[in-house]
Symmetry: C2
Subunit: 480 residues, 2 copies
């Protein structure tokens, strides 16, 4: 702290773009997770040149630097566990180029996902990863977390839409990786590991992105199941059947109850609901997909199917899923929804078993957990509902999180689907990736020999998330 | 050489799986490129355990090891510039698992692409990268080169179908990277840089791959253009229009002449031909795509369009493109087709200009060059037709190659689309990636501290390809 030269930082970005009062530091010291730690300063660069100057200064003084977008991370990715400078990238929010004839765009890292898609819409194209937080999530943050969302089942994650990045290294050097073309076979395609690196390898100052045609026709469906296992079997069969849904979502009974409590939607109080969508340019093709999906669901016991091509109807059907995360917070008095064990992937055939396992682990530990997610891409989300004012709740949560990821690992899943690792998933991540942690440290060293970029994360994170930072005893109300 | 202990290698893989007679060493010392260098021995492991033992031995003695599939590389990727052991992976050719409910398969690296697709066909799914050499190309080689092919415009490259790899490091340690699920956000996704690493980071001993639904309907089209620029404009507009062609191929006039000479197909002697395909599950959707593509081509001056849904007709229309590479070898007496400047990418809007530029550079250097390729993914291929018995031809080729990649770099393209870097493209690669070579060396060091895995390639390759190895003064007749 004391070694930080605030006036040097003010020289680089200007007086008003450096914050060091406790109120600001407190806010910038957390995100949508349960974690909180105080940075030494918040610096808001306006361009790549300023980022380079900041990095040169920080590297010479070995001061930690944590790049940050909107702070919508669910597991503490941008929480400064070792203090240092929070690099708020939101001022770098220009869309630099939309190139239609070569089918790519170039953006600064602080561009908000929804703003990019608003800018692309007139050209009938879109940038597909679209996490549920797209109203606030920045492109830089989406790349750093390899974010994805409900449509990743058809359109892939952030990394799959990433053609190139311009990166400022810890040294202050700036390097461009990747290309503007669709394929590349020119050695190590480093941009592919920048995606998912959570700010540990460099500061993204520009991204070159693919965009794809905006479908003109969508059909949304919802089917109820009395048994989770019937929904699970449907998921495997849909994905193996040659269907390409543009959405395939599982909602469990805990979530259904929460949604009904919060929104009075009177969804049927069933064991599970599947929500699915097909999109395209030709009605017959969308019909073909949606009918196939509906038939598979109903063969496995799905009932009360609703289907609609109409935009307003689709919105109505989707309301519950859309409001699921905030609804969970209202599940029960003193039972805030806590972002822990917040995401994971498991093979399609394990979706139902995983949901049951999550409920069972919750029960054992005397907490409530919901399971839902983008099952079409193998992604499962949970939240822990507990009295966050009681330390025994946290002990129980700690145990539940460990048990859940032990199970996920045992069935060939992975610790994070799209929310990243941060702090609360780090112990599970380090168990899952134990064999490659040294290699990851070697890669990190090649980029950041002084270990100043988001230190104490991923392979270098604490194995004890409960004591790694202060814990926020509050309700997170970010959208899921 | 003298430090190699042949009997130690025979202990590991058995007498008959170690070759060190000059005839074998000569054959294994080259590939589909112009390069030739003698390895010290060829070793043919049967399983991952043997690969680990070989690596432990080689690492302790600091002996170079070059993993090799079928040797169909176009630019010398597996040519042992520093001698050492060629690790022939073709005996590890088992398809380990085809998991339909979880929608992935696991294979050994020596599995031939066509054999995998034969095994997947009964389930109506396929592994999409499919390079033109799929009849011989191994999955391990395709991953190591991030190979792709005519359908990469819709289905992506090898890396895009790669979910995970099991890698034996230089140390002999074996590590699994990736997962079986569709999305992952768990730290550095290292499998993504294994794709394209050309055997410099580890030996792939297993791969987990996505497969996708096999389309039930295909329509192929071919249109003629009197002006290359008209074909070029069509490409940009098709890719920006919301079409998703499953193939979009450019063939230039040099290639057309070569095809007509070799196959007597009487293709019209026009400036350029575009070949395009749409695929899907629903006729109306395929119709929609193919009609849109056809209309765009004809708006830009395309004429004599042929279209067919019929398999035999499609084969007839495609014959010329399919036989293009061998046909080029028969373009003129003493003008063998030489694999130099064999691939590159350029933005869609530069396809026509690039083709003109290639012809112009060829003329300046008194050689003949053809330009063609998978323009839907930005991929352009060339071959140099020259009298390979004359050293002045090679001097001219050296100059032409440098001029072509200088141009490609100037328009924002990249040195390799799908054939990799190897030896003959390394100088251009090192110019293109100059800023990141040190970082690449750092990554290489993390994987292979003694630099024994395919040394002298990529970031460490010679800047003088003409003198880096012996040159094969023969005609390459591998399929393109």
């Amino acid at each position: 702290m004391e070694k930080l030269n605030i006036s040097r930082l003010k020289e680089i970005v200007g007086e008003k773009n450096v914050k060091d009062d406790p109120a600001d530091l407190y806010i910038y010291g957390t995100d949508a997770s349960v974690h909180q730690a105080m940075p030494w300063a918040v610096v808001r660069p306006e361009n790549a040149g300023q980022v380079q100057e900041i990095m040169r200064y920080a590297n010479s003084e070995k001061i930690p630097v944590i790049p940050r977008g909107s702070g919508s991370g669910m597991c503490g990715q941008t929480v400064p566990v070792n203090g240092g400078i929070i690099l708020d990238m939101k001022r770098m929010n220009k869309i630099l180029e939309i190139n239609l004839e070569d089918v790519y765009c170039r953006v600064e890292p602080g561009v908000i996902d929804d703003d990019l898609n608003k800018a692309l819409k007139p050209y009938n194209v879109f940038f597909p990863p679209t996490p549920a937080s797209s109203i606030i999530a920045t492109i830089g943050g989406e790349i750093a977390n390899n974010a994805s969302g409900v449509r990743s089942v058809k359109y892939g994650a952030a990394r799959d839409s990433l053609l190139g990045v311009k990166l400022v290294l810890a040294s202050g050097d700036m390097i461009s990786f990747g290309t503007t073309t669709r394929v590349e076979a020119s050695g190590y395609q480093i941009e592919r590991i920048i995606a998912g690196s959570e700010g540990t390898l460099g500061v993204i100052v520009e991204a070159t992105l693919k965009f794809v045609p905006l479908p003109t026709i969508r059909c949304l469906g919802m089917t109820n199941f009395n048994k989770l296992e019937e929904a699970g079997d449907s998921i495997s069969e849909i994905m193996a059947s040659g269907c390409t849904p543009s959405m395939l979502e599982l909602v469990d009974n805990v979530a259904i109850k929460a949604i009904n409590n919060a929104l009075k939607l009177n969804l049927p109080d069933v064991d599970a609901i599947l929500i699915f969508e097909a999109d395209g340019m030709v009605k017959e093709a969308v019909d073909f997909e949606i009918t196939k999906i509906k038939d598979i669901c109903e063969t496995h016991g799905g009932f009360g199917t609703e289907l609609s091509f109409d935009e307003k109807e689709r919105e109505r059907i989707y309301t519950g899923r859309k409001k699921l995360f905030p609804s969970l917070s209202k599940y029960k008095e003193l039972m805030p929804s806590t972002s822990l064990a917040d995401d994971m992937t498991v093979p399609y055939s394990k979706m139902a078993e995983t949901t049951r396992k999550i409920h069972e682990i919750a029960k054992q530990n005397n907490i409530i957990m919901s399971a839902y997610g983008h099952c079409g891409s193998g992604c499962m989300h949970t939240k822990i509902l507990m009295d966050t004012t009681k330390s025994e709740s946290w002990k129980a949560a700690e145990k539940a999180v460990a048990q859940i990821y032990e199970y996920v690992n045992s069935v060939g899943g992975t610790t994070s689907a799209e929310h990243g690792i941060g702090i609360s998933k780090a112990p599970a991540f380090k168990i899952e990736k134990a064999a490659s942690l040294e290699l990851m440290r070697g890669i990190k060293k090649a980029f950041d020999p002084n270990n100043i970029l988001n230190p104490g994360k991923l392979q270098d994170a604490s194995d004890d998330w409960l004591n790694a930072t202060k814990l926020r005893y509050t309700v997170s109300d970010k959208c899921e």
